[in-house]
Each structure stands twice: as structure tokens, then as C-alpha cells.
Amino acid sequence: MNRLAKLLFVPVLLAAVPACSVLRLDSVDFGWPVESVVTVSGTNTIEDIRYSVKAEVAPLAQEEFQDSTALRGARLRLLRSTEGYYFLTGAKFRHVYVFAPGPSSLTLTKAIQVSEVGLRNPALNQRPPFVELLDGDALRILLTSDDIAEAKK
């Protein structure tokens, strides 16, 4: 009986493997060609029409400015990288926030510090495999989803 079980184990395992495998599509490009400039509403939400993204940003205001209402009326820069991460920043921000999408949520994966005093006029560009952060003519940084890849001041 034991021997029979051992003999059957390998074919059963082989048959089971395809059934359990997860369908996966690779080489997906999530990147937006250009950033979205969105204005924070009175209810602390941002919305991008073209890509149908809507999010509440009060926790972000709390995190960056220690004031959940600090972003009302502010213009934020939002860009999705080719990997699918959302990069978010704005004027007076000292960080670029990197979020991963989840079910009805965006989860912070990294807050990358890019300035000591706060950005003045930031812009995000898609530069695969990086996301480029500009601040006027003074700053140019290439970002990955978790760090600064290259900085020029």
C-alpha cells in the first residue's frame, strides 16, 4: 500500500500542478504618458477623469503637513509608473509618495524624501524605467518605486 502510494504520488502531483497554477500576464505597461495635475476638492479628494482614479487625500495631508486639511485647493501631481505604482507629490512637499494599488485603496510603499525645504514647482515625467521629478530648473531626480536612482541639482 505504501509502495503504491509512492508510485502514485508523482503522477498525481504532475496532474495537480497545472490546475493550481495562476494565470499571469507579463510585460504589462501601466505607465501614463503624462502626469495628471489634479486639484484637491473641499472634501479632500482628488479625481483624474481620463484614468478614472479618485482618492481621498486627507491622510496624505496629515502625513506630509501634520494637518489633514492642508491640501484643500492644492494642485497635486499624479503619475502612474510603467510598473503600476502611483507617484504623488506637490508644491511644498518634501517627499514623493509612492503608492501601490489595492482593492479600493492605495497603499504607501515608500515616501522618498526629495527636498529639505519643500518643492516649489514640481513636475513628474515618465522616463521608463524611471519617473523623473523636476522642480523648475533647479532640480532633476530620477526615481524608482523605492528610491532615488539619480539626482542632478
Binding site: V34, E35, I49
Partner: protein, 431 residues
């Protein structure tokens, strides 16, 4: 000298990366801003010289942004860079043609706008007059002549309103020629805004609704219907044409980028903020069109019911019972049946032929019946001939009786003459 040069080169080298960097968003926004400015200037251009200078600006825009074509193709979705430039070039050509057409026709856009404003004002005064006339119609029910006068004036008022609203429509579309497929989307958007500003759809609906109210409020005579049917048919045809144009215009409104639509004043444009809302334009146009369509259906139904009901009443008032009818074919069948029945029986056809057909139907209802939408000219002529033949039989009998009467009179005269002539020949009796 060398030190200065070295410092300058070092400075340039340090600054080069900084000055070369640009925001993609700013690039896209700059392109869109310039695109919109040129579109707007083309839209308001009134001289060919002005449009010629804009052609140069379009070519400059194309060459300035050509190095960023690949990026703009993705950023300007759903249009590509080359499609945007092509659209602008075709708008320039069409605007040139339009302005040239207006110049050669001796009509200026400002004159057309003034004409539309004037027509709209006249239309508003007619609307005020209409309210007064409806009031008069209610008051003059007791006097037949006053009622007829109120009906006449109200009909004239509705016809004038009908004519004016489509004169406004014609003025709006005049500069763009007959073929709207040749008109650029931005211009169609401008037409849409003019239609909205002049409140055209509401006014068209109002005219249809006024006619329904008019048909409800008054008892019409047979002779009134010819004009009313004609008016309905003409209105219906013109509305079908306008509806098609509106659909084209609304479809163009939906394909215009949201940013450029926002500058418009139309409700459809104001609510446009993205792809989802862009669909509202044709839907709104369709809903408005459906509203007018339903008023027209009601107008038609009341007109038809009033016409055939009134005609049926003529028969019952004349004491002639015919099979009920509610449209051209059933009326035709009913008359043919009546004629056949009268021809077969020995009943006197006179009341039907003379008192009803000739005095009432042919005099008051012929114009309405001859309309293609009712009975048609050919079928009316066929029925008239049929009824007349029935009448000819009557005339023949009378004629025979008349001849017989004359013969009797001649006979009597002859008899007396003969007797008069014979008398002298009579022998005198012997005394």
C-alpha cells in the same frame, strides 16, 4: 580672456541640463493652449487676410512640436499629434471658404447675428400675441364671426412663428453651406451654441405644442384643414431636416476635447468634463429631439382625428348614414359603398349628391382631402367623378321629364292651333 571663456563654457555646461529639462505636462498644456487659441481665432475670424496669417501660425505650431510627436501622440489621446494638426488645417480651409462665401454673398456674420436677434425678438412678440389670441378664442365662442376671426388670426400667428423659427435656423446654418459633413467640429460646436442661444429647440417644441392647444381649443370648419395640413406637413419636413443637422452638430460636440468644450456656453458643453460626460451631448440632443417628436405625434393625431371626425359629422348632419371612416382608404371605401347603394336602389341621390357632396364636401373639404397625407388628389377626383355620374343619372331623368313636359306643351299648343284653324271650315248650321 581665456579665463572668462572658460568660466562661460563651464557655466553653459552646468546650465545646459537644467535649461533643457521640461515638464511633459507643461509641454502638452502649451500645445493645447496654442491649439485652442488658433481654433478660437479661426472661429471668430471675419477676413481672409486674418485666416491667411493663422495658416502660418498653424504651420509654426506643427514644426515647433514635431520633435515631440511621439509623446504628444500618447498624451493627446484620443487624437494624435498629426490628427490635431490636420484638424486645425482643415478648419482653416473651411473657415476660409466660409468667410469667402459670406464676403461674396455680401452677408457679414455680424449682420447674420443681428438678423437672428431681430427674428428672435419678433418671435417673442408673436408668442405674447398668441397668448392674447388664445384668450380671445375662449371669449369669442358665442359669436360665430368673432370666433372665425380669432381662428384666422391665431392660424396666421402660428404660421408666422413657424416661418420665423425656421428663418432663424436658416440664418444659423447659412454660413456653413448645405453639407454639414464638410463643416469642422469646432464650427459645429459653434452652431450648437447658436442654436442653444436662440433657444431653437424649445421654440420648435413650443410651436408644435401651440398647434396641439389650438386644435384642442377650437372647432374648425372643413375649409380650415387644407391650410393646417399643409402647415403640419411643411413643419414636419423642416423639423426632420433640422433634427438631422442637430444630430450632426451634437456628435461633433461630443468629439471635441473637454477643455475646448468648456469654453462654450451650452449646457451640454458646460457639463462636459471627460469622456463619460462627453456622451451627454448626443444624448441631450436625442432627448430634446424626442420631446419635439412626441409633440409632433400629438399634433398629427389631433389634426387627423379632427379632420375625419369633422367630415363624418357633415354626413350625420346631412342625415346621410355612411360606413364610419377614419382615414383616406376607409373614407374612399365608404363613399364608393354609398354610391353603389344609391345607384342600386331607387332612392333619390339628390340629397347626397347636391346637398352634401357638392355643397359641403366639394366646397369645404376638397382642399384637405386632396392632400396626399389624407386622400390624395387622384383619389378625390375619382370619387368626385363617381358621385357626379350618380348625379348625371338624376339629370337624365329630369331631362326626359323636361322633354316630355315640353312635348306635352307643344301637343297642347298644336291641338289648340289645329282647332283654331279648323273652326272657320266648320259648316254653319242651317237656320
Amino acid at each position: 580672456m581665456n579665463r572668462t571663456l572658460l568660466t562661460a563654457l563651464l557655466g553653459a555646461a552646468l546650465c545646459a541640463p537644467a535649461t533643457a529639462q521640461h515638464s511633459d505636462f507643461a509641454l502638452k498644456s502649451d500645445f493645447e493652449d496654442q491649439y485652442r487659441q488658433i481654433s478660437a481665432r479661426l472661429d471668430s475670424a471675419s477676413t481672409t487676410e486674418e485666416i491667411d496669417s493663422l495658416k502660418e501660425e498653424i504651420e509654426r505650431l506643427a514644426s515647433d512640436y514635431a520633435p515631440h510627436e511621439e509623446f504628444l501622440d500618447r498624451a493627446l489621446y484620443p487624437l494624435t499629434f498629426s490628427e490635431s494638426i490636420t484638424k486645425l488645417r482643415s478648419l482653416q480651409v473651411l473657415t476660409y471658404d466660409r468667410v469667402y462665401l459670406i464676403r461674396t454673398q455680401g452677408v457679414k456674420l455680424s449682420e447674420l447675428e443681428a438678423r437672428i436677434t431681430s427674428l428672435t425678438t419678433r418671435l417673442d412678440s408673436l408668442t405674447a400675441q398668441r397668448d392674447q389670441l388664445f384668450g380671445e378664442l375662449q371669449e369669442s365662442r358665442k359669436s360665430l364671426s368673432a370666433l372665425r376671426e380669432a381662428v384666422r388670426r391665431l392660424t396666421a400667428n402660428l404660421t408666422a412663428k413657424d416661418r420665423l423659427i425656421f428663418a432663424i435656423v436658416d440664418s444659423i446654418f447659412l454660413p456653413y453651406g448645405k453639407d454639414l459633413s464638410q463643416v469642422a467640429d469646432v464650427q459645429k460646436e459653434a452652431i450648437g451654441q447658436r442654436l442653444e442661444r436662440s433657444n431653437v429647440i424649445t421654440r420648435v417644441y413650443e410651436i408644435a405644442a401651440d398647434n396641439v392647444k389650438f386644435l384642442d381649443a377650437t372647432q374648425l370648419q372643413g375649409r380650415d384643414y387644407g391650410n393646417l395640413i399643409e402647415q403640419y406637413e411643411a413643419f414636419n419636413g423642416r423639423w426632420a431636416g433640422l433634427k438631422q443637422k442637430m444630430t450632426d452638430v451634437a456628435a461633433a460636440g461630443a468629439s471635441i476635447p473637454a477643455e475646448s468644450a468648456e469654453k462654450g456656453t451650452s449646457k451640454a458643453a458646460v457639463v462636459r468634463r471627460g469622456v463619460k460626460e462627453l456622451r451627454d451631448a448626443p444624448e441631450t440632443a436625442a432627448a430634446q429631439a424626442a420631446h419635439v417628436d412626441s409633440a409632433l405625434v400629438e399634433w398629427h393625431a389631433k389634426l387627423i382625428a379632427g379632420f375625419w371626425g369633422g367630415l363624418q359629422k357633415e354626413f350625420s348632419q346631412a342625415g346621410i348614414s355612411v360606413a364610419p371612416f377614419s382615414d383616406g382608404p376607409s373614407f374612399s371605401a365608404s363613399i364608393r359603398q354609398e354610391v353603389a347603394s344609391l345607384a342600386a336602389s331607387k332612392q333619390d341621390p339628390q340629397p347626397f349628391v347636391d346637398a352634401l357632396w357638392k355643397q359641403r364636401i366639394d366646397r369645404d373639404w376638397r382642399e384637405g382631402l386632396s392632400k396626399d397625407a389624407m386622400l390624395g388628389r387622384a383619389e378625390y377626383a375619382a370619387l368626385d367623378k363617381l358621385v357626379s355620374e350618380l348625379s348625371r343619372d338624376t339629370i337624365d331623368t329630369t331631362f326626359v321629364a323636361y322633354i316630355a313636359g315640353i312635348l306635352v306643351i307643344i301637343g297642347v299648343i298644336w291641338f289648340f292651333v289645329f282647332r283654331t284653324k279648323k273652326r272657320p271650315d266648320q259648316p254653319v248650321p242651317a237656320a
